[in-house]
Amino acid sequence: MHWFGWKGRFILRRLGLLVLQVWGIVTTVFILIQLLPGDPTYLLGGEFSTPSTRASIAQDLGLDQPIYVRYFKYMENVLHGDLGTSYFTGKPILEEVLRHFTATFELVTFAFIVAVGLGIPLGIWSAVSRKGFLKNIPTAYGMVAGALPEFWWALMSILILYVILGFAPAPIGRIDVSVDPPHTITGLYTLDALMTGNVSAFASSLAHLVLPGLTLAFVNAAPIVKVTRTQMLEVMSSGFVRYAQACGMKRGRIYRDALKNALLPVITYSGLVYGFLISGAVLVETVFSWGGLGQFAVSSVVNSDYLAVAGSVMFIASFALTVYVLMDILQAVVDPRTNR
C-alpha cells in the first residue's frame, strides 16, 4: 500500500519519463547523424569509385530511401535491439558497443568508487576541521585537479609511474599482452578473473586498471570534495546543529546527524559524475589505449561509421539517464521529506 503511495507514483512517473527521454535521444541521434558531413559510400567504395558503385552501396545501406522511411525503419530496428551493422568492422553494432562498454564500465566504476571514497571523507574533513590549513586543502586540490585536463594527468602519471619509476605496467590496454584475458562472464576483466580464480589475469588487469582509474578518480573527486564540503558547512551552521551544540552533544554525534542531512545532495551529485564519466572518460581511455566506448565512438565518427556513432551515443545517453533516474529514486526513498 505504501509502495503505491506518493513514492510509488513518483517512481512510476519518473520511469515513464525515462522512456520518453530515451525516445527523444534516439530521434535526436538519428537527425544529427543525417546532418553529419562525410559520405560513407565514398569510404566504403574508395576514393576512385564510380558513381554507379556508390549508388549500389547506398542502396545496400538503404541510404536511397526518403528520410522518414529510414527513421521508422531505424526506430523499429532499435526496438528489436538491432542497432545495425558497422560499415567498418562488419559486426553488429550492439555487440561492438557492449564489448567496448564493459571496458569503460570497469574503468569508470573503479574510478567512481575511488573518487567517492576519497571525495566525501575529504570534504567532511575539511568542513569540520577548524585549523586554517586543512580548510584550504579542498580549494587547493580543486584548483590543481580541475585546472589541468585529465589527459595531462594521465600522461604525467605514465611518465612518472611507468617511464621513470617503473611501478605501473605499460599503458596499453586492459591486461598484459602476455596474459590471456579471463574467460568472459561479465566482461569485466578483474571480476571475471576473480570469479574464475585466475590469479595472474586478476593481478595484471588490476595493475592496468590502477593508473587510468586513479587519474579519473583524482580529477573527478575534486568537485565531490567541494560539494560535500559546501553541504556539510551549510548543515553545520543550521539551527539544529547549533542546538545540539548548545546541549553539549558529543562532536562525533553532531557530525553524524549533520552528515545525514548533508549527504543527500552529495549522492545526487555523485550520480551526475558517474553518468558523465561513461562518456567523459574518453581522453583517459585514449591515452591508455583502453578500448572503451568513448574511444569506439570517436573512431566511429572519424570513420563516418554513422550507425556505430548512433549506437554509441544512444547507449551512453541511455545509460547516463538510467543512472540519473536511479539516483532520483534513491533520493525519494531515503528522504523523509518525500514521504507523502
Binding site: S238, F240, A246, C247, M249, D257, N261, P336
Partner: protein, 356 residues
C-alpha cells in the same frame, strides 16, 4: 530572592575578517542579573549584541572576558566537560523553527534529544517525559511521530519550547522565538511561555527586537546599543518612562494603538556605527539629539536613578563627578516610582517630555 544568573562585565569580541589587529566588539562590558522565575527582556536593534549575549550563556560563543555566574558557578571560563553537567539546567529556543529541528528526526526524537544530557533515565521514563512535555506545550500525540516538514511554524516552535523544557531547566534563553511567526501564532507561543513559567518557575532571558512582545512577557528589561546596556529597569519603568535617548527613540518607533496616548517621535539621525570602529565616549553621541561636547569624551556608566531604574547617559544621569555647564538635565523619581528628567534652566527639553 536569589539570582540564578549573574552576568558581570561580559565582553565578547570577534576578530574582524581581513584585518589583523581589528576586532568586532559584539558585547562590551555587559552586566545583569536574572532571578528565579523572572523574565529579563533584552532589547536592541540587530547588531546590538543581544543575540551574542544569549549565546555566550550557552557557550555557543566563547566569552572574551567577564563572569557568568549560573547557580553559583562561573560558567564563563569553566571547561566544557564540567559545563556539560550544567547544560540540562540552561536551555535555548531559537528563532527559526523550521531550521532548528533536524529534518530527519521525528518530533518526538527532537524533543527527547536533550534527555541525553540527563543520566539514569530508562527508555520508558524518557518516552513518558516526552509525552508529558508535549502535552504541556499542547502538541497532539499524533504529531509526535511526524517529521518537521509536516508541521506548521507554530507547531514547530512549540516543539522547540518542549525540547527546551524537557530537562526541567532553571533558565531558558529565548532567542527571538516569535519574530518569524504570524501574529496570531506569536500570541499563542507567548501565552504558552508565560503559562509554563507560572507552572515551573523557570527564568527566561527573552532576546528580541519586538518591543510589544518584550513588554508583554518581561518583568524587567535591558536595552542594548552597540554591545552595551544603555538602560535597564522594570518593564513599567523602561516602557512608561524611558530616559535614555536611545530607548526613547526605540520606543517612539513603535506604533501606539491607543490614540489617547501622546506619541512622541524621537528619531535618531544616521546609521548605527560600525562595531569595529566604535565612537569614543558615549557610543550614541554620533546620533543623539541631545548630545553635548562632553558626550564625545566621557564614557557614561549605568547610574541607578532609584528602584533599580538605571541609565547610562551623562545628560540624564550624570555621575557626581560630572558637572556640566548650563541646561544640566536633572533626573529624579516621582511619587509613582518613575524616573523623570528636566533641564536645570527650568525648560523642559524634548527629553523631558512626559509620556503618559
Amino acid at each position: 530572592m536569589a539570582s540564578i544568573l549573574s552576568v558581570e562585565r561580559l565582553v565578547k569580541r570577534f576578530p574582524a575578517p581581513g584585518a589583523a589587529k581589528a576586532f568586532i566588539w559584539a558585547v562590551s562590558d555587559v552586566s545583569f542579573d536574572i532571578e528565579k522565575g523572572e523574565t529579563l527582556g533584552l532589547v536592541g536593534e540587530s547588531g546590538s549584541g543581544k543575540t551574542t549575549v544569549g549565546r555566550c550563556l550557552l557557550r555557543l560563543v566563547e566569552p572574551t572576558s567577564g563572569r557568568i555566574v549560573f547557580l553559583d558557578q562561573d560558567i564563563a571560563k569553566m571547561n566544557l566537560r564540567d559545563f556539560r553537567s550544567l547544560r540540562a539546567k540552561i536551555q535555548i529556543v531559537f528563532q527559526e523553527p523550521h531550521e532548528s529541528l533536524d529534518p530527519r528526526m521525528t518530533i518526538a526524537a527532537a524533543i527527547g534529544e536533550p534527555l541525553k544530557l540527563v543520566k539514569h533515565m530508562t527508555r520508558l521514563e524518557q518516552s513518558d517525559r516526552i509525552i508529558e512535555v508535549a502535552r504541556q506545550v499542547l502538541i497532539p500525540k499524533e504529531d509526535l511521530t511526524k517529521y518537521p516538514h509536516e508541521l506548521s511554524g507554530g507547531q514547530l516552535q512549540r516543539a522547540g519550547v518542549a525540547r527546551a523544557m524537557i530537562t526541567n531547566p532553571e533558565l531558558i534563553v529565548l532567542d527571538e522565538p516569535t519574530s518569524l511567526l504570524d501574529s496570531s501564532v506569536r500570541a499563542e507561543i507567548m501565552e504558552l511561555l508565560i503559562d509554563l513559567q507560572q507552572k515551573t518557575d523557570v527564568s527566561y532571558l527573552f532576546v528580541s527586537h519586538d518591543l510589544t512582545s518584550v513588554e508583554h512577557i518581561s518583568h524587567r528589561v535591558a536595552v542594548m546599543y552597540l554591545g552595551k546596556i544603555v538602560e535597564t529597569g522594570t518593564t513599567k519603568q523602561v516602557f512608561e518612562a524611558p530616559l535614555h535617548p536611545y530607548t526613547r527613540s526605540l520606543l517612539s518607533s513603535v506604533l501606539v494603538a491607543d490614540p489617547a496616548k501622546e506619541h512622541v517621535r524621537a528619531p535618531l539621525v544616521g546609521e548605527i556605527p560600525s562595531p569595529i570602529n566604535r565612537p569614543t565616549g558615549c557610543f550614541l553621541h554620533t546620533r543623539c539629539p541631545i548630545a553635548i561636547d562632553a558626550c564625545r569624551t566621557v564614557t557614561p556608566e549605568l547610574v541607578d536613578l532609584g528602584r533599580g531604574h538605571r541609565v547610562s547617559c551623562i545628560r540624564v544621569a550624570p555621575l557626581p563627578s560630572q558637572v556640566f555647564a548650563r541646561n544640566q538635565l536633572v533626573a529624579w523619581t516621582d511619587n509613582r516610582g518613575f524616573a523623570r528628567a528636566e533641564g536645570t534652566d527650568g525648560q523642559r527639553t524634548e527629553l523631558g517630555t512626559e509620556r503618559h
